[in-house]
Amino acid sequence: MLSGVLEYQFMRNAVAACFLASIVCGLIGVIVVERKLIMMSGGIAHTAYGGVGLGYLCGFEPMIGAVLFSVGAAFGIGSIKRRGGANTDVIIALLWSTGMALGTAFISFMDGYPPDMSSYLFGNILTVTKSDLIMMAVLTVVVCLTILIFFNDWKAFLFDDSFSSILGQKTVLLEYLLLVLVAMTVVVLIRVAGIILVIALLTAPAATASLLSDKFKTRMIIAIALGLFFCFAGLFISYSLGIASGATIIVFSVVCYSAVYLIRSTADKRSLKTPVR
């Protein structure tokens, strides 16, 4: 059956998209969950909708607009956070809704019949085009290299950034870079899960991995593997039942997370009765 499915170009693209999405989800997801940047990632994702709308209005590739807007949002959040002037929560909320509002406004400026935005909002992995794939691949490579090359710097920075800065590390650069990486990741995921569902795909594999391992590197590897599993299983279910792919992947991930969580907490309770130390 698998070889039959892969004869379709759109299925091959979908499989490739799953791979790319799982890799960035694993790497950035673990960081985002550990640093409690999930809502910030949500804000960056929703800001991207403004870029998609602008792309349609001005006639350039909507995904380019998404990159510009989300990276812009990352810099905005970063610099406001650094100055410490305002509550980060407020900034995230405002960017979140402003992005959505701008996107909607741009679309309504368009003449004629408005385009269908639902694949951007909820994702449709079966409509991933070759040019989408190329962009996703480039972003994935950039994200991976940035994390892997500076792995030890990231680990030290994420654990205790003030100590890193005392050692003379470029913590300001790393802080901005991290937000930009989150923005890139979000863009990679938009085609798979959509702007609204991105947070779940970013969180579920990493959060499940955090229940299974307390080593940083192992968590990332497990999260990538889980991401692959969630994406392919979700894709298979959506294919066999004929339901929306993005939504299926998300629901399946959350069900898996809950299952692991329940198993884990029962196991922990049992081991409490026989203390290790």
Partner: protein
């Protein structure tokens, strides 16, 4: 300025603001090399802020900080820092040895960096020095409060500092660990200048060589004998300094005025 050469830290007229609140005002403080200085004062009195200013983590509104007679930035590498226990994320997935290894990441960025065997050996030796080498492979979430606090000290020592700044190193540890930490600090003090922020007034008399009292501004700096007036000036009300079963006296028996401490503290 011959005197400044002997000072590990020299602070002149330092003021620090947090937005619209003044955290420190016109603080002048000299810490001679080899001193073990305890900084006490009420919450919000600017103790942690002073450490952060020395470390360059908060920008001063005015004033000057010199480290061994040089501008702070030039000599920053000689300062080791043990942050307040509660400000560090103890759930982060990292092992005790890896925490110590981060001390070897001096400098801006380290592309393709891998810890070498010598780093691992130095980390093990540092852990051994405080008696927690058996915990090297443990994740930090599995360490007790006292063990984690000692780990933070090990990490700071691994940077081979000439000055060690500690922010409440005994705040949330059990009495046995506290005793151990003070023993350790006394030993470290043989080669390293120590500045320690603490609420532990009992420790003040017996462990440190001098104290500074901070309540936005420097209230007192001098020998580790506190008199009532200083304490009242600092905390704003009489503080119960009597501890059961502890043979140290913090309050001096003598009665003298609260001056500005030593002459060189008067700016």
């Amino acid at each position: 300025m011959d005197q400044s050469a002997k000072n590990a830290i020299q602070i002149e007229n330092l003021s620090v603001n947090y937005r619209h609140t003044r955290a420190l005002q016109n603080v002048c403080l000299n810490v001679p090399e080899g001193e073990f200085l305890g900084i006490i004062g009420p919450n919000g009195g600017g103790k942690s802020t002073l450490l952060k200013a020395i470390l360059g983590l908060v920008p001063p509104a005015s004033g000057k900080i010199e480290i061994f007679g040089e501008e702070r930035k030039k000599n920053q590498a000689v300062i080791g820092y043990v942050p307040q226990f509660s400000t560090v994320d103890r759930t982060f997935p990292i092992s005790a040895q890896e925490v110590v290894l981060t001390a070897f990441l001096k400098g801006p960025l380290h592309p393709f960096f891998r810890y070498k065997e010598e780093h691992r050996r130095a980390a093990s030796a540092a852990l051994e020095r405080v008696g927690i080498e058996n915990l090297a492979s443990r994740q930090i979430s599995e360490l007790s409060g006292g063990e984690f606090q000692r780990l933070l000290i090990v990490r700071a020592l691994a940077t081979e500092p000439k000055i060690l700044l500690l922010d409440e190193p005994t705040a949330s540890v059990d009495p046995a660990s506290r005793e151990h930490i003070y023993e350790l600090l006394t030993e470290i003090n043989k080669s390293v200048t120590i500045v320690m922020v603490t609420h532990d007034l009992m420790a003040i008399a017996s462990e440190v060589t001098s104290i500074a009292c901070l309540n936005q501004t420097l209230v007192y700096h001098g020998g580790p004998q506190l008199d009532e007036k200083t304490v009242n000036a600092m905390y704003g009300c009489p503080v119960d300094l009597i501890a059961h079963g502890v043979p140290h006296r913090v309050l001096g028996r003598h009665d003298h005025d609260c001056r500005g401490g030593r002459e060189d503290e008067e700016c």
